[in-house]
């Protein structure tokens, strides 16, 4: 049997995590909390609260709310899984002995990533029964569940990779942990705050002539800065989910209207994000109806692309820092 370096490292790290943490308790409480939240969301699905039409999509509504909560919590857990991976090993003196074996720096990098990412995936996997519950409630396609889980897994992997990179770049474990949480905060709250500020800064004054009178008003241009929000994990998750089913109505006059069911939180968030890309409505002279604009394009490919580039950069940095014989060292860092 040929021993695989990545498998050796990942297996070792996974075994250590399994031995040291109180995983059973942690996973149990994680599932209990999420079950409670799912139950509360389920209870809130009453016509007088959320509206008549949502009741048909109870499963979809529950799933959307639940997944946003899961993502929020996962973003809190993921940095802890990897942010001390390299410098912690260095501090304990366990890294150098591995570096002088047949393992390459990529073995160590990818092995450590897989161990932390895999642990994060276990947390996600534990929530599968809740997704099945949502599925049973109806109005939710299985494809949507798979897509959301796949994107969430990727997002956790990105946070793990970034945290790993920080643990390799910074000598002190506390510093890298703080930086990892700052990175998550920047991606979530930071993008939102930056977007709001830029929205104010980039708003422009529009002069319009109407009935011979000229008046001016300030107009916001989110279509120019929508990309600031794109890397936000919540928006990526919401926007990457397959579209919710549409319902068709027949109006009394016989016209058929197709309406998108965006009653669940993921759908609403996705809709909002895409609408940001829409340029302001254009009124041609003498026309009271705005020119038709194309359906807004999705935002998530940009966000996810950005995140994947970020993760790739973090992994390259990690590998560089694990490469031996080491040249220049960051100040205050000893190889062993």
């Amino acid at each position: 049997m040929i021993t695989n370096g990545i498998a050796t490292v990942a297996g070792l790290e996974f075994r250590l995590r399994l031995r040291t943490g109180r995983w059973r308790w942690l996973l149990a409480s994680w599932l209990i909390v999420l079950t409670g939240i799912a139950a509360l969301i389920r209870l809130s699905v009453r016509p007088e609260i959320v509206g008549e039409e949502v009741v048909d999509y109870t499963g979809s509504f529950m799933f959307g709310g639940l997944m946003l909560v899961v993502l929020g919590l996962a973003l809190l857990i993921a940095p802890a899984l990897a942010a001390q991976s390299v410098n912690g090993d260095r501090e304990r003196g366990t890294l150098a002995p591995l570096q002088i074996t047949g393992l390459t720096s990529w073995d160590l990098t990818i092995g450590k990533l897989l161990a932390s990412w895999g642990t994060g995936a276990v947390f996600l996997l534990v929530t599968a029964p809740l997704a099945l519950w949502c599925l049973a409630e109806g109005g939710l396609g299985i494809g949507r569940i798979f897509a959301v889980y796949a994107v969430m897994t990727l997002l956790i992997g990105v946070i793990c990779a970034v945290s790993l990179g920080l643990s390799a770049a910074v000598a002190r474990t506390t510093t890298s942990s703080v930086l990892a949480y700052l990175a998550v905060f920047t991606l979530t709250a930071g993008t939102g705050v930056l977007f709001a500020l830029l929205l104010a800064v980039t708003s422009e004054t529009v002069q319009q002539q109407s009935n011979g009178e000229v008046f001016s008003y300030s107009e916001q241009r989110p279509d120019r800065i929508w990309w600031v929000l794109a890397p936000n994990p919540f928006i990526i998750l919401a926007d990457a989910a397959p579209e919710t089913p549409t319902t068709t109505f027949q109006l009394p006059d016989g016209t058929v209207i197709e309406q998108r069911q965006d009653a669940d939180l993921l759908g609403a968030l996705s809709q909002a994000a895409r609408e940001l890309r829409q340029p302001p409505e254009v009124f041609l002279p003498g026309n009271d109806v705005p020119e038709p604009t194309p359906e807004p394009a999705p935002v998530w490919p940009y966000g996810l692309g950005f995140q994947l580039v970020l993760a790739a950069g973090a992994l390259l940095l990690t590998e560089r820092r694990l490469r031996t014989p080491a040249g220049a060292l960051p100040t205050g860092q000893r190889v062993a």
């Binding site: 049997m1 040929i2 021993t3 370096g5 050796t8 490292v9 070792l12 075994r15 250590l16 031995r19 040291t20 304990r92 003196g93 366990t94 890294l95 150098a96 002995p97 591995l98 570096q99 002088i100 074996t101 047949g102 393992l103 031996t324 014989p325 080491a326 040249g327 060292l329 100040t331 190889v335 062993a336």
Partner: protein, 336 residues
Amino acid sequence: MTSLTGRGGNSGYGEPVVAESVAYDAPHAGVSARGLFRSFGPVGAVQGMDLEAYPGQVTALVGPNGAGKTTLLLILATLLAPDAGWVRVAGFDPSTAPGEVRARMGWAPDMLGFYDALTVAEYLDVMAAAHRIPAARRQQTIPAALAAARLVEQAPARVHTLSRGQKQRLSLARSLIHGPSVLLLDEPAAGLDPRSRIELHDLLRQLAVEGRTVLVSSHALDDLEEFADQVVFVDRGRTVASHRVDQLPAHAGPRLYRVRTLDAAALAQALDTRGVTATPAGPSAVDVQVFGGEANAARLLAELVEAGVPVTGFGPVGGSLEAAYLQLTDDPAVRR
């Protein structure tokens, strides 16, 4: 041509072990380092070290704290890249062929870091896997390494339950796991009880007899005289001298002798009349500084006996290695 010791004018300690022609012309499978430099920012940790450690010999690396011993061993162990210099370990250059060196070299760092959650046997198994030793062969190499380090009884114990001395032995077992031909041991005797120290010396001798190159850094000078073949003195990043242990010269500089007596007052008076300064070393002993070598010491003893001082003991303080060490590391010619 500069001498191998880096200090051609250092007379009084005999000739360097190895004639230059041999050292520079005959490549060997041990360790060779010539003109080695490595600094960390402003700190010049290694500033021109030369070293030859031969197969079949135990070579000791001796020098004060901060002399650069650990840094040198890190360079030899393929963990640090030298700024300048020529290095061969087991016939390969650690900078350009680290993989070849790692397959033939075992390193025991000064820091004892292990994965605490694993048992001793599991830990060695992981390290052997990291060395890409197939599982079937690990069944033989691990018990052999455990036996060599006298850790057979501790095999099923968790690493964190081991005593410091046992961890030191585990570190040794780890360095032996892949049957290396060159061993680099950074203070392997630190924390060992007297019996374990003797066992370690026996093991190192045995490893050398098997044809391996053993390079040990140590502060236990008395011990070295018993098991090392060659001693390399380093100070302030430089090789100061390099000697065969059995050829350490009787030395001519000032040396401390301890005089024991039954009558402290008589001894003090006898020394006083001869203008010899004495420092108390216990209730019935004093240390005297003797200049001019062993002949003068013999003369002083004869005079004391003649003067009727009841002398019960008279001998140099510390071994010849210690004397050489003190002289070399406190030589104003070296201390620039």
